[in-house]
Assembly symmetry: D3
Homo-oligomer: 240 residues x 6
């Protein structure tokens, strides 16, 4: 089975981190193909960048020349999953939803710890749309920018664990979700600090995607995610 794991930003080292997490979670026999979009921002921390990322991810998947069995969109709280479902030849799993579902299997309420304060409402919006907000106790910001996660991992663990502890103690969360594709390597350290299970979205999404493939299930074409109708486009897709 081949799963495309698509980074939402154009920072290759981030793609490498995501790929490593995905491979660690995958079953034997699952091939992880990690893709970096050909255009877009080095990190995604707001709606403008996220919308550009949404189409960049779609184009990356559309341009992928080989067959594949599932797609994982590896950006937390980003736009685009609905469009990707229309154009991908396989089921699509967004890490935002995968992490929330996994968390809901483990505790009564979960909290998300993310990067900057400004991305909190984006994540809340995604969970609301996905029908997964009811059991979300809170979305908390660590105050770190996406790229700081890589540049200072020790500070990242500290900042994230501090918010995770507040989520458990004050917001009554019982499970912590790491709210950024680049936080994957930090799960163990945060779990040790909080005593609560910690869910990484990339890992969660890979196992959900594997499950769908094994069950032979794919995106419904009945209405919302039907294939795009034939259309005349101007200036799109971009020439590669």
């Amino acid at each position: 089975m081949r799963i495309l794991v698509v980074n939402v930003n154009t920072t290759e080292s981030m793609t490498a981190t995501i790929a490593a997490t995905a491979r660690a979670a995958a079953s034997p026999g699952t091939e992880i193909v990690a893709l970096t979009p050909s255009f877009g921002a080095e990190s995604v921390e707001g709606s403008y960048e996220s919308y550009v990322a949404a189409v960049a991810v779609m184009e990356a998947v559309r341009a992928y020349p080989e067959p594949y069995d599932a797609v994982v969109q590896a950006g937390y709280g980003e736009h685009g999953r609905e469009g990707l479902q229309e154009v991908a030849d396989s089921p699509v799993v967004d890490i935002t939803e995968a992490a929330a579902m996994t968390a809901q299997l483990l505790g009564h309420r979960y909290s998300v710890v993310t990067t900057l304060d400004r991305t909190v409402p984006l994540i809340e919006d995604r969970l609301l749309l996905a029908g997964l907000a009811q059991r979300c106790a809170s979305v908390r910001a660590s105050g770190l920018a996406v790229l700081e996660l890589e540049s200072d991992p020790a500070a990242a663990v500290e900042a994230i664990a501090a918010q995770a502890e507040l989520a458990v103690r004050e917001d009554h969360a019982e499970v912590v979700v790491l709210g950024c594709g680049g936080m994957a390597g930090l799960a163990e350290a945060v779990a040790a600090r909080t005593g609560a299970p910690v869910v990484d979205g990339v890992a969660a999404a890979v196992t959900l995607a594997e499950g769908l493939v094994r069950l032979g299930l794919t995106t419904s074409r009945v209405r919302t995610y039907a294939r795009p109708r034939p259309k005349r486009f101007v200036g799109w897709p971009l020439p590669v």
Copy 2:
């Protein structure tokens, strides 16, 4: 006062229709500048096309060389408004929300009549996110594609009025919203058939935008719609 009214698709005749509606609704002294995106689909009827439109609209506004006072996003149920709020220098009004707010001022519940069945969930999602779903009685599809609205206006009135009547009688709507930027010219005929007020989103958005400008109010930069952070982009924006 200058208001940019941005079509979401690349069909120029549709831009002209939208511009005419906007001008009819505008106060004396308001200049309507109608923009057509430089890339994207001839009509937007699904999430893939809508995501491409979202960034195309943003780029159109970013590329506009003159000052402006407000932006109207003239696609019903489309993505992108949050990103546009980050990059525009002025308040942004989405016709989906403008029509819903206007309808809520006129009756206890409203219904939206749109084009194809597949766009119904997109509109429902936009209203949910906007916090305007509670008083929405239903979103109904007329079964007409966007471009058919132009090619056969008489059939369009018939199909839309039939659904509007069902909305009033069966879904207990008291106001009807025309759920497509291209339906503007049909309001009067549909109102005559249903006895209910009929709201066109483009007209509603223009008056709301004018109101914001008159009140001196613009997008909050406090958190969600703060200006994008400085970032390194790859391959974006597109060369014009």
Copy 3:
């Protein structure tokens, strides 16, 4: 165009303040007629007073002898809008809803800062009924009585700005709504303190009302706000 702006209490100086705000927001050519009810409390700070005000406002509008184009109910969080829609000959805009809608166009969440703690639940109830509660981050009380707003404006600014700052910082509001018809003059000072847009309901309602009139839209008579049925009344309306 003539807009009736109706104070909910019987304090004439408050009517004058409201009228001034309304005129400042109105377009050239709009005539603002400010009405004071002929009966009721000097200030409205609870449900008993608010219900009396509701009928007093309706009677004031019913007794107004000239034609008019729209009615603004200028009390924040008060009862009566539904009845006023039945009896008025024009569209009706309640400042509670007008401010919330305007705020929703400007930021992801808004907070209301009102007068006394006891009026908070009344405002929450009005927003819930109006279908505008989802994006309300909080309703906060400044602790000032309505009439204190007039008697000590400097203290009022201080108390309101303090709550507005808490709303932005702790409740994640991005827009502040002034939750009392008599707070209009304070918007600029509160905006300066919080860095967030500040919406005054009277000004917002006037622009929304103007918009409805320009669009030729009025209250739906389909069901909820149909004209009252012919009835025999005892002792009502009050002899003028």
Copy 4:
């Protein structure tokens, strides 16, 4: 124990019907005092009439010269309960809420069958505010005006039972609430037709009121329903 049961309209025969229902439901030793407002409409079927009734009921209770232990507001879906709680010296029970609570004790979902279509949204609004809408399957209109209930009881049973049957079969109601103070006498006949328990609001409210009195509980004065603050009123209350 003395319970004031206050009709919302000025039709004395309706007050008599309500009084009879209340007495049939009351425990031995409970005195039912039925009040008719001194002003207002002969029947209440819309918001204008309902707001007038709200203050008329409050004034009737305020003018009542003897002590009392509880107040029942005997109009289904009407305004005013919150104000009445401020001014009454005892707990207040609204028949809309009493019937809904009682119905919720008996089945998974309940439906309300009321008079005219135009009153349906008023009832829905009251249930929403009361926090009792979640388990309401539907509010259905029989098409009968309030006063027709008295003039043709056989037709009333037929029309109400027909809607009750639809509520059970199509809306999945398991309990039926009679949504008008004047429907009390019809409960048995409707129950026989539907096989579902039928709840009359007046009877339900009397038993709830008795329970509160026996438990020594009364309206909280902590915030929302605190006593009105001392105020200067103009032209109010009406001279008796």
Copy 5:
């Protein structure tokens, strides 16, 4: 009238406390029969114990040899009410719901003060299912185990009153609900400390049950709470 009041745990002294509270709330002529389950935990403080209690309560009622008019399930936030409604020959009132309904009649919002932190989500779940969560301001834990309520009543009052005061001040509750069947004796002391009405579930349930019996209403057999279908059971019910 005979009401079965069923303790959910197997501690006889707790049954005695509950019985005393029930008798104090009952009308003259109401016989209270307090039952202790024949199996289960000495106190119920989690879902495993609560599920065992649910079936133990059902079996206790099924085994009761005499006729009865109503059943009160006297455990706060416990499972089982839906099953009990199927097997009991009379209406069933759960103290969780009875207290919430009673509280809603007295103030705009109520809070529950319960025992251990781990039972808070169980109570929240029960209120959500019952459709009574909307007006619940908070569920707070006193930190006391169920059996500590008996062993140190003075500390219990202190711990509960402290949380009740926080509920009123910080969560905007206006009524306090005692969230444990064993807290009944503490209502007066907590009310004195908070100034808010305090509702005990057992007392509230007894008066609601009496009301249903007086009105001749019982559980709907239409769908959800229809009698169990004839079935072959293995190893159940337990031999007495």
Copy 6:
């Protein structure tokens, strides 16, 4: 990896069907151990039976003498999952939630088709508690009893497919969930009839459980699902 799949009823042939479905969905190397409770009803079609099943499933898992890695509760819409999470040594997956989550990954809305009308509200309640109701379009009953699924599979396919088609056409479902543990073998036939993906809960739960085990995640012990406190039990657990 060893997964316990626990039937909720005592019909061994049903356990065999469930085991076969679970094995078909499991990865190589996963051992499925199917358990039948030692007490309870031959089929579970109501709350009384479901509560007995809840404790029977818990006791079956507690009595299982070997180590295991995950537990699947194989009854659709049944009680007990929260208690099982407290007592099981591993993550627990309920088929009701597993199927809903899987369906949400595949389409915008899903519907459940279950057995008898009386079980519909039980399923709705479980989805509400699980926070998975928002995207549920409907729960529909086929009218077949649980044991009829086995006795007449052809009629079962027909009845279920008919409701599934209505769900897609009238309720706007895009994915169909089979709402009974015993429906597993029918997925293919129903999918062929509706054109929509069909999700079987047992298969979905096995893949979710495998994923949790692979990720090393288990039930949070932070609060709700902490281990039961040490307690004195009377007459429980049942002697084996």
